[in-house]
Symmetry: C2
């Protein structure tokens, strides 16, 4: 068994090679440029962990993990075009550096390359892995479209937001674990538990992300606090606040979102606190985390095999107590 | 055996169903909108013909044909974004009607849907079909990128142009035939001949397309003559003219392309004729057509089985004599 950190190092090294042909340079250089930035590679490592929970890591899992990471990067390149983002992790985005048309094609060809890696695996698993990969890929597009839709809507329910977050980010985490588990020979029941673990963990992580953006320690959080508030981003916090606030608070919130005064972040945070949004978010996060961990409990393997995934949950989700 | 026309009707009817889930409407309606326009469905029908050359049409061929048509439509949606095309066949393009971001996602999810259809086929062929599909899909992206690159270049060689055209359009025709042939149980040698038939036929068709844009009868051609010339599009005709013209003619051509005078089309056509570009284009088209037909000759099946593809070549390529 390997720890999350060991697998991050292992996969990072294997993934740090060229993934595209040399020519046409104009098509493949932008893809290599984007992949060269590195990253935590959480999704592919979850695939390896899903495998190792049931058996030693098989070569096929590395192919699937690579396909997952390429797919994830394809979504980032296309998302950056849609968001007109000039930078990602301090680097010039692909569309800024090479133009939108090339960025669009770079994303397209990266997705196709993902399928080329998938097609390297043992035909015995191919159809089952492909089915889960395709379904998940389609769901990620659905989540992204819902995110676009919600930006223009004023009345998004918390339930609809959770569905969107689940599609946009959680299902890929869940499917990464399950694809590894399939290759590791897990039963269908165990696969389902692992999938649900990943899905619930992803939602807990997003709640935490929203929470930290508002209430995090800027030094630990690594970015300026209140970015979501400044951009009127729909988050767990804002949607809950709009649900529980009294009429005065609601009016003030809406006014702040329209007028963008200089003290907007401070004033929104003060309403959040008055509405106990912070405590609510922590308890909701805890609820999803507990649901996730319960699914790990229910997997029919020895406790020692569950350790790395429990550690991953600890690593991703900070507990308050 | 069926004729091309019969298969167009058969496939058209089967393809004329809903291809996406109902929700989210905002993601899937644009895809259904684009597919509802109909079309000749040449590529999927070539897949069915590739199958029927060797055996009766198997259900798997319809799945692959559907995947091919969805892939082709995905490329059209993304190409329209890149070209900022307001209309296609007189209809509002997806990005004009629904916005660029949704059009981008509609294309993405249409490609994923293509892979879902591919995954319905017998696992026995899956890996081989997937390998050819992936390679072809990647090549189509390469062709599109080269096309973008060539637009900005002043010195594109005829050889480079043929390579671009081959990647952008011919390989998908070729692969459509071969995927059908694989399902029909063709030998590797026969598959290769069929692929080369499709590839050469595609190039002949593009030469004809370029020719008709300059020299076609506007009534038969169905669109205004000279559109490529007005847009300075690199075509077989222009690239050859730039290769064979004398210094004066070259200067005049370059001047016309820069200045866009009112009589540009007429003057460029006059240089084309002085350089015998029309006769040259016809003989080059004939050369590719003959190469294509030779590959059909070389396929080891009875003559009667070759008839539909020979008729397809006759239908697509008009002969001058």
């Amino acid at each position: 068994m390997h720890t999350f950190k060991e697998l991050v190092a292992d996969f990072g090294q294997r993934f740090g090679v060229r993934h595209f042909p040399e020519t046409p340079v104009s098509l493949y250089e932008p893809g290599e440029y984007f992949l060269s930035w590195g990253g935590k590679r959480i999704r592919p490592v979850m695939c390896l962990m899903g495998n190792e929970m049931f058996d030693h890591i098989k070569p096929d899992s590395y192919e699937v993990a690579t396909a997952i990471e390429l797919f994830h990067n394809f979504t980032l390149i296309h998302d950056d075009i849609m968001d007109e983002a000039p930078l990602r992790r301090g680097m010039e985005t692909v569309h800024m550096k090479y133009g939108s048309n090339t960025a669009l094609l770079t994303g397209d060809v990266m997705m196709i390359r993902a399928y080329e890696y998938l097609n390297k695996i043992n035909p015995q698993y191919l159809s089952r892995i492909l089915a889960l990969f395709n379904k998940t890929a389609r769901e990620v597009c659905e989540g992204q479209q819902l995110d676009i839709d919600f930006e223009k809507m004023t009345d998004v329910s918390l339930g609809a937001y959770i569905e969107m977050i689940s599609l946009k980010t959680s299902v890929l985490l869940a499917a990464s674990l399950e694809m590894g588990a399939i290759i590791g020979g897990a039963s269908e029941g165990n696969c389902r538990h692992l999938y649900e673990f990943g899905k619930n963990l992803g939602i807990a992580f997003q709640i935490q992300d929203d929470y930290l953006d508002a209430f995090g320690d800027p030094e630990k959080f690594g970015k300026e606090v209140g970015g979501d508030i400044r951009q009127n981003k729909k988050t767990f916090l804002l949607l809950h606040a709009l649900e529980v606030a009294n009429d005065d608070q609601k009016k003030t919130l809406q006014h702040l979102m329209q007028e963008n005064p200089a003290d907007k972040v401070q004033k929104v945070l003060s309403i959040f606190k008055d509405c106990n949004v912070d405590a609510w978010a922590n308890s909701l996060k805890e609820k999803y985390l507990q649901t996730a961990l319960k699914h790990i409990d229910d997997i029919a393997v020895m406790a020692v095999r569950k350790k790395p995934l429990e550690e991953l949950a600890d690593f991703l989700i900070q507990r308050e107590y």
